[in-house]
């Protein structure tokens, strides 16, 4: 039973961005802090635990956060610093295992199965990592230890902040049974609402439903739900995460009403996104334009080129083409974004087609 014998640790930094700000600015310690734009349309990127007590959450509009917590202190995000700290903690992980999957700056899955073969336990490694993070970064992290990624992540969330939780083989199914459905990775507020409508409130409720029911209501997510309701997750810790898209968007301080300002805004986003594409050396064929109007309705339009967009000019031309189709604007827009997908080397079903395309030689 290879799957059952795996040892996986999930490390999650506590209120990462906000904690970094409190660490670097002593006057913020003990106070409710939010990282993110405080202007009319800013969004909270991270909230300190003091702020969370007032109900402030990440991704919440800053205006809402301020209403919930009038004393909230807003800090501008400093991604350079966060990236640097993230590098420090990844260096600590690397002392214990080479199999590290960091889904974002502030968390990582570690497969320590091999590291434990010498007699050390995964729990001991998790303790050591938390200790080293605290000593070297003056920040706290929570750790979850279990035999798969899904349970390890649930565990790290269990005793937050500055906590440790272990779910041993054999305990997974029981642990999941008692959980409210919202704690399951991938189930957000909408998913929770839907589950509640269907009479599912806990892991046990979910496990009581059969595959036919799940498929009828959740489509392609059915298999995932069926497995995790039983504490089963066979996904490996992947050191090379294949990126599926590269993109970016901007919410504007004031709604864009006329074509000239939309075009100007698009030019800015083209620069921004192309810079990201160039940095990660992504090559993709599908470009998606995203627009949110003043009524918060989201539209997106996408178009695929026959071959990956190789230079900024091609990229800009396709982006402009997508925008032109939306003009004149039926309503003012508050957000504009672009993302490039169908990336080459992405594990999609079209890999063989891509290979065949590459086999076709060109005249020019």
């Amino acid at each position: 039973m290879a799957a059952a014998s795996r040892k996986i640790i999930h490390i999650d930094m506590d209120a990462f961005f906000a904690s970094v700000e409190q660490r670097d600015n002593p006057s913020l310690r003990g106070r409710p802090v939010a990282v993110g734009g405080s202007s009319g349309r800013g969004v909270v990127a991270a909230a300190s635990y003091e702020a969370r007590r007032f109900g402030v959450r990440s991704a919440m509009p800053s205006a809402t956060a301020r209403r919930l917590c009038p004393d909230l202190v807003f800090c501008k995000s400093r991604f350079d610093v966060y990236r640097e700290v993230s590098g420090q903690i990844r260096a600590i992980f690397a002392r214990y295992t080479p199999i590290i999957e960091p889904p974002s700056l502030d968390e990582a899955y570690l497969d320590v199965t091999d590291a434990c073969s010498g007699g050390t336990t995964a729990t001991a490694i998790a303790r050591a990592i938390r200790r080293e993070i605290a000593a070297e970064t003056r920040l706290t992290a929570s750790a979850g230890v279990s035999y798969n990624k899904f349970l390890a992540k649930l565990a790290s969330d269990q005793n937050k902040p500055d906590g440790l939780c272990v779910i041993r083989p054999g305990e997974g199914a029981d642990f999941v049974q008692r959980l409210p459905i919202r704690r399951f990775h991938g189930i957000g507020p909408r998913g929770e609402e839907k589950m509640h409508r269907l009479g599912i409130r806990t892991g046990a409720d979910l496990a009581a439903r059969d595959m036919v029911f799940l498929r009828a209501h959740f489509g392609s997510a059915a298999e995932y739900l069926f497995r995790v309701a039983r504490g089963i997750d066979l996904r490996p810790v992947r050191t090379h995460r294949t990126r599926k898209s590269v993109g970016g968007e901007r919410t504007f301080g004031e709604d864009l009403r006329d074509e000239a300002s939309v075009r100007a805004a698009l030019a800015t986003i083209i620069d921004l996104v192309w810079e990201r594409i160039a940095r990660v050396e992504a090559r993709g064929r599908t470009l998606t334009l995203k627009l949110k109007d003043d009524d918060f309705r989201l539209h997106s339009r996408s178009r695929s080129a026959a071959r990956p967009l190789e230079d900024k000019e091609d990229f800009a031309r396709l982006a402009t083409l997508l925008l032109e189709q939306e003009l004149p604007l039926p309503r003012p827009i508050r957000l504009l974004g672009l993302s490039l997908s169908a990336l080459q080397d992405a594990p999609t079903g079209s890999r063989r087609d891509a290979a065949a395309r590459a086999a076709q030689l060109s005249l020019f």
Binding site: R303, A305, A306, R307, L309, D314, R317, L318, L321, Q325, L327, P328, R352, D353, A356, R357, A359, Q360, L361, S362, L363, F364
Partner: protein, 378 residues
């Protein structure tokens, strides 16, 4: 405006102009046709998508009140289609409505004022020449399949038309070329009078398609072409015929002449129809969009084969004239079929160099059409 005309006349005209009108329009008036009843007893019907416009004059049974109005092109076309054959249609515009009456049917359609209807400013069109309709149709047929649909290389989204001095004392020529970067089609005709000094132009794909449709009814007529570096106008059927005016693609077509091989020393000659059918058969099992077919050339023999990871293998042997060294080369089956289906002769010449070099395909060295195809790695 009030006019009466034959249903058949109206239907034929609308079938010409309505395809210019895009189905989805953000500017409402672009969904409309402009109908202008002229005192002389004829109707002028016009449609546009801002890049391309078509104007047609049709005879009316009677014009009671001259005037002009715009009305939904697709609605009017659908109505005309469903009216009984042989009926007389009356069109009358009043109070922001157009009333369409025929027999016992009566429609009231919303209208938009004619003054809002955009027309393409042609400007000066200094180059003028005429071409027989049939020749222009052939020029389009032989090249349009190779037009690129990839919008990132917009300058390949049309047929490139230019004049040149010609080679080996053939006299001055006019050439049409289209390519998508994988294959190239070129059609040559002797330079028509008036085309000397003509600017190089790229005629957009949609214009090519609309023109080809109109030519179907004008194969035996002369087509007048007027152009400038930015616009082209095709006049079919004289003053009272159809006039198609289009913007040209503003871009530089690549110097395609450098990809036409001149020293390919391996010549394969075979029947294009049998070749087409064999390629089509073995490609049945190919699953990828590109449908790679491998060609093994040996003494007077071609072996076509396809290997599919999902569907097994296919092979077919064909008799051919081939005396050069053996060669294995792969092609996209669809590209090969596109070219072979252009051949109206009993023999096609395939000039090869090696498995990675452009291959020249033509009827013979006298043929007006010439094709270049890049191989696939197989």
């Amino acid at each position: 405006m009030k006019a009466t005309l034959e249903r058949a006349t109206l239907l034929r005209c609308l079938s010409h102009v309505q395809s210019v009108v895009e189905r989805r329009n953000t500017i409402p008036i672009l969904s409309n046709v402009l109908i202008e009843a002229e005192a002389g007893g004829s109707l002028k019907v016009m449609a546009t998508d801002l890049d391309l416009q078509v104007v047609e004059h049709i005879p009316a049974a009677g014009v009671d009140t001259p005037g002009a109005i715009t009305v939904s092109a697709h609605l009017l076309f659908d109505i005309a289609r469903k009216l009984p054959d042989g009926s007389q249609v009356s069109l009358e515009a009043a109070d922001n409505r157009m009333t369409v009456k025929a027999g016992r049917s009566r429609f009231q359609l919303p209208t938009l004022p004619r003054d809002d209807f955009p027309t393409i400013v042609e400007g000066d069109l200094p180059t003028t020449f005429t071409l027989p309709g049939r020749l222009l149709a052939e020029l389009i047929d032989r090249t349009r399949f190779a037009i690129s649909t990839e919008e990132t290389r917009y300058y390949l989204n049309g047929i490139f038309l230019h004049v040149s001095d010609g080679e080996n004392g053939s006299g001055p020529v006019m050439r049409a070329a289209a390519t998508d970067g994988h294959r190239l089609a070129r059609f040559t005709l002797s330079r028509p009078e008036g085309a000397e000094g003509m600017p190089d132009v790229i005629i957009p794909r949609k214009t090519v398609a609309e023109l080809r449709k109109l030519l179907e009814e004008a194969l035996d007529a002369e087509v007048r072409v007027d152009l400038s570096p930015s616009k082209v106008r095709f006049t079919l059927g004289g003053e009272n015929g159809v006039v198609l005016t289009s913007k040209l693609i503003d871009g530089t077509f690549p110097d395609y002449s450098r990809v036409i091989p001149t020293a390919n020393d391996k010549l394969l000659r075979l029947d294009p129809r049998l070749f087409y059918q064999a390629v089509d058969r073995v490609a049945t099992i190919a699953t990828e969009k590109t449908r790679a077919v491998k060609m093994g050339l040996d003494n007077d023999r071609v072996t076509l084969s396809v290997t599919s990871p999902d569907n097994g293998t296919a092979a077919e042997e064909l008799a051919a004239e081939y005396a050069a060294d053996g060669l294995e080369i792969g092609f996209n089956a669809n590209y090969l079929k596109d070219i072979l289906s252009q051949m109206d002769s009993d023999v096609v010449e395939v000039h090869l160099a090696d498995a990675g070099a452009p291959t020249l395909i033509r009827k013979n060295d006298q043929a007006s059409a010439l094709y270049v195809l890049m191989p696939m790695r197989v």
